[in-house]
């Protein structure tokens, strides 16, 4: 495998993993909510997994 192909493969892999991470693990709704004007934000409500 040439160096050029190896670098291309690694870049593709890193891009894929990064995209999957951002899709699965980032809380976009919370990030978006924090940037809304105060009167339009949804409340953040804390809970613990207990009745």
């Amino acid at each position: 495998m040439s160096v050029k192909r190896l670098v291309g493969f690694l870049l593709g892999w890193v891009t894929l993993v990064t995209a999957a991470h951002l899709w699965l693990n980032a809380d976009w709704s919370a990030l978006w909510n924090d940037r809304l004007p105060l009167d339009q934000r949804k409340f953040n409500v804390a809970y613990i997994p207990v009745t």
Partner: protein, 294 residues
């Protein structure tokens, strides 16, 4: 539950739920305004308000739903057998602590008869399983988890020593109440509707166990199903309006145990207008077979 169902209504979800593992972390997040509202144990909410933190209790999360559990094959068969034992509680500022104190007192025992240690609720069943503690006083589903796992035995349910027992309450920051009362009302309405829906029958509770276990609690739906449906009075979700008599009892127990240094009046830490506004709420129209809710 309210988040899951409200997302399926035409108006969409009304808040962003954030899962925590312990009440102290919730307290800090609330003080720092990272959370505008929170479900927390009632004594902690009262203590925070007493210390000047600008929050108000606006609704209850449920009634009953807490129990004292001991080792299944252990020597404890009555409250009097708890003398000298190590019991886990979620916090000194919790109803689960106070119910233990109340049970000890009813059996002629002082609080010091039992060694109480604070432990995050998700850790207690595991601690009991490996004999790190002799028992715990905690909210569901952890008593159910210990029972289902075969290593825990229910010593008593909270309502046996405390009729109309309540534990988690909904608190909202005062600035959120002042600036956006309509949003607070929408949140309280949603919780009231969820409570009525949960108390409408076993089928709804089974459905709730499934989606709450998978998407919110990260717990086996079978455990929540067991807790919610084996005995429908184990946890009840209506009525949830805060009543002065219930809170006076909590406050007096807190004074008695040194958790409060003054008899803070009900009106100073509870705002009942949102519960009044939710008085005519109707249960959600929602079922396992539908993808939309009303």
């Amino acid at each position: 539950m309210t988040d899951y169902v409200s997302r399926r209504t035409a108006s969409g979800n009304i808040f962003l739920p954030k899962k925590f593992q312990g009440f102290p972390e919730i307290k800090e997040a609330l003080i720092a305004d990272r959370m505008q509202a929170a479900f927390m144990v009632a004594p902690m909410a009262i203590a925070l308000r007493s210390q000047g933190v600008p929050i108000k209790i606006v609704y209850l999360g449920h009634r009953y739903g807490s129990a004292v559990v001991v080792r299944r094959d252990g020597p404890v068969h009555s409250v009097k057998d708890l003398v000298g034992k190590t019991m886990a509680i979620p916090s000194r500022f919790s109803d689960e602590h106070l119910i233990l104190v109340r049970a000890l007192k009813a059996n002629g025992l002082p609080r010091s008869a039992v060694k109480m240690i604070e432990m995050p609720p998700p850790d207690v069943a595991g601690a009991l399983a490996v004999n790190a503690i002799d028992g715990f006083s905690m909210g569901e589903p952890f008593p159910g988890q210990a029972e289902m796992g075969g290593y825990g035995r229910l010593l008593f349910k909270a309502q046996e020593y405390w009729p109309d027992f309540m534990s988690c309450v909904l608190v909202v920051r005062q600035d959120a109440i002042d600036r956006r009362p309509a949003a607070v009302q929408e949140l309280v309405d949603g919780i009231a509707r969820s409570g009525l829906w949960l108390d409408a029958g076993v089928a709804n509770r089974e459905h709730a166990a499934d989606f709450v276990g998978r998407y919110y609690y990260n717990q086996p739906p079978a455990l929540l199903r067991w807790v919610l449906t084996r005995d429908l009075t184990r946890v009840v979700y209506s009525p949830l309006a805060p009543r002065k008599a219930d809170f006076d009892l909590v406050r007096d127990l807190m004074l008695e145990t040194g958790l409060l240094d003054r008899p803070i009046p009900f009106e100073e830490y509870v705002d009942t207008r949102f519960a009044d506004g939710a008085a005519g709420a109707r249960p959600w129209v929602f079922s396992a077979a539908s993808t939309a809710a009303q």
